[in-house]
Symmetry: C2
Subunit: 347 residues, 2 copies
């Protein structure tokens, strides 16, 4: 009799997946969408009408400032799939000890628990005003406070790496790295992606670009991994500074933070600096073109409404169009892990 059989006979709970934990922990997003939708009268407005999105938006008193993607979670199908369909990016097994893994997890959940849950209570106000519903309403700034507390910043950067790790691992496998020699990770934080790519593809050298405050964290991790000869940190502001020269530029969880103009600005900057046949990789919880399946992406877009003045998540089709307009000759979308995909453009 195998161990599995014994466990089942003893009434052990089914195997635990980190997907399920993430789905439970962020369950308040889909829940609040339903509650705010009822409050705003969305379902009543949808019943027996063939009005288009703009007509509905106006009738419901929703603010017009945000990109249309912000509003699409109101579709009944998205409300449904919010409960069941999309699962967030799985947390990968970590090489570190169990204690470290627990610390990562606790740091990660501090962000939705101490901040987002309370802010999402004002989702309806956010939809009506188009104004972020976080600390900025009372003059605070999450990142300003975070950047003045090195221990907390370190913890937060690690948690963000954990959240991205499913996509990082998939990018290491699914992008044709053998055809490239250099890359830069734009908004690299502690350097989870550069370190994985350098380990997985030993011919690569890379740059991590982020604000100067991240430098010691990145450099310490890279040194500890023995990768300082192939990875270096570049302090900068990707909105202001030129992007580094590299065969491949990666924007992970970056584009969705910004409005359409800044998204296009970043893509244009990437195009300018890339060599012929160079590639851009944009990865986020990319929404399906019909905006019906990837409920987590739709909900993440509402989280951008809560957190940022202009941010929104986008469909694969939209991002491909931006890349094509910038000049990329070939574009495609490829699924990574959980609700995340990458949009790739070849110059």
């Amino acid at each position: 009799m195998t161990e599995t059989t014994v466990a089942k006979q003893a009434g052990a709970p089914p195997a635990v997946s980190p997907d399920a934990i993430l789905q439970l922990g962020f369950g308040f997003w889909g829940s609040k969408v339903l509650l705010s939708a009822v409050e705003l009268g969305v379902f009543t407005a949808l019943a027996g009408t063939s009005a288009d999105l703009e007509t509905l938006r106006s009738r419901l008193g929703l603010h017009p400032a945000r990109h249309e993607t912000s509003w699409t979670p109101w579709s009944p199908s998205a409300c449904w799939s919010a409960r069941t369909a999309a699962t967030p990016t799985p947390l990968p097994p970590r090489r570190s000890s169990t204690g470290s893994s627990r610390a990562t997890s606790a740091a990660f959940w501090r962000w939705p628990n101490a901040r987002l849950f309370r802010f999402w209570a004002d989702l309806t106000e956010g939809l009506r005003t188009g104004v972020p519903q976080n600390e900025t309403k009372t003059g605070g700034s999450f990142f300003t406070e975070l950047y003045t507390d090195p221990a907390r910043l370190r913890e937060f950067a690690r948690a963000m790496t954990a959240l991205s790790m499913g996509s990082i691992l998939a990018i290491g496998e699914r992008f044709p790295w053998s055809g490239y020699r250099t890359f830069a990770d734009i908004g690299c934080a502690e350097g989870g992606l550069p370190m994985h790519l350098a380990r997985r593809h030993t011919h690569l050298t890379g740059v991590g670009l982020d604000l100067p405050v991240l430098a010691p964290i990145f450099q310490e991790h890279v040194a500890a991994a023995g990768l300082s000869d192939r990875l270096r940190f570049l302090a900068g502001d990707f909105l202001v500074d030129e992007l580094p020269d590299a065969d491949v530029l990666v924007f992970g969880h970056v584009l969705h933070d910004w409005g359409l103009d800044t998204k296009r600005l970043l893509i244009d900057k990437a195009y300018r600096v890339l060599p012929q046949d160079g590639a851009i990789i944009c990865y986020d919880a990319v929404i399906d073109d019909d905006r019906r399946q990837n409920a987590f992406g739709l909900l993440m877009s509402l989280n951008m409404l809560i957190e940022l003045p202009d941010g929104f998540d986008y469909t694969g089709g939209e991002c491909q169009q931006w890349l094509q307009t910038a000049g990329f000759r070939r574009t495609y979308v490829e699924h990574l892990a959980g609700p995340e995909s990458m949009v790739v453009g070849i110059k």
Copy 2:
């Protein structure tokens, strides 16, 4: 080809169950339990320990005032089942028009949306202090305000009937009403249970007891249903006044509002007034004796922590013990609908 087949071929979404809507709308309960559990270090404390509940409670800095049931959602199995296992009582099909049904639904969701979501953000504080986390923290009172607004009270009472209707219908079928002639519904609100029982069992006459403010709503509904000859309203406070004479006394969503002493007081009062062979029916989201399956009941108990100074939800075994201590000669638990069961005692 049947209509169903056509609908499926046309790519129609699967049939919509109200269970799923309720599970989504209250999804923030289970979500916040996970977030607060991580914040409090529950999973770290549970790892590699065989400490009992009281030791864990003390180690985690949780307030001891509440009944132990309040804390049991912290068990990992309950956190898991919070996501998947328990589904709230289904909303029944209503006889009224679609418009009325929509109004009911909107009124129902106003309660979790405008109040509970925000209050649950303070779950951790509630667990640490044992103090309710609703309007009372700032001197307000939900019911005081509700009782001064007749239109909103009417709307709220209707929404509460809708939430109870699954159990009301089941009580009409599963309790042996043919052996009894009279009943009283203690805390009857607009009278959903009395009206259903009077329609379903034409030999019954009944009393609805509630605060005087509910009188016009109850009486109007009963008159409209042509049941005024068999149902009457009794204005009173069940904590203070004697309970009415009846063969069967029903406490629906009443016992869980109160601490152990008041629960026992109400049960004792019922025993005193019931005739030999009379019955008490207590229905709530009764928790399974192992406190592992009915996650909605466990979460509802935490909602009592948020809302009330002493309330807690209880297991079938606990309630049977209280009934037996009061003198009831036979007791049993029977499932009703969704997460709800009735605990019955025969004098």
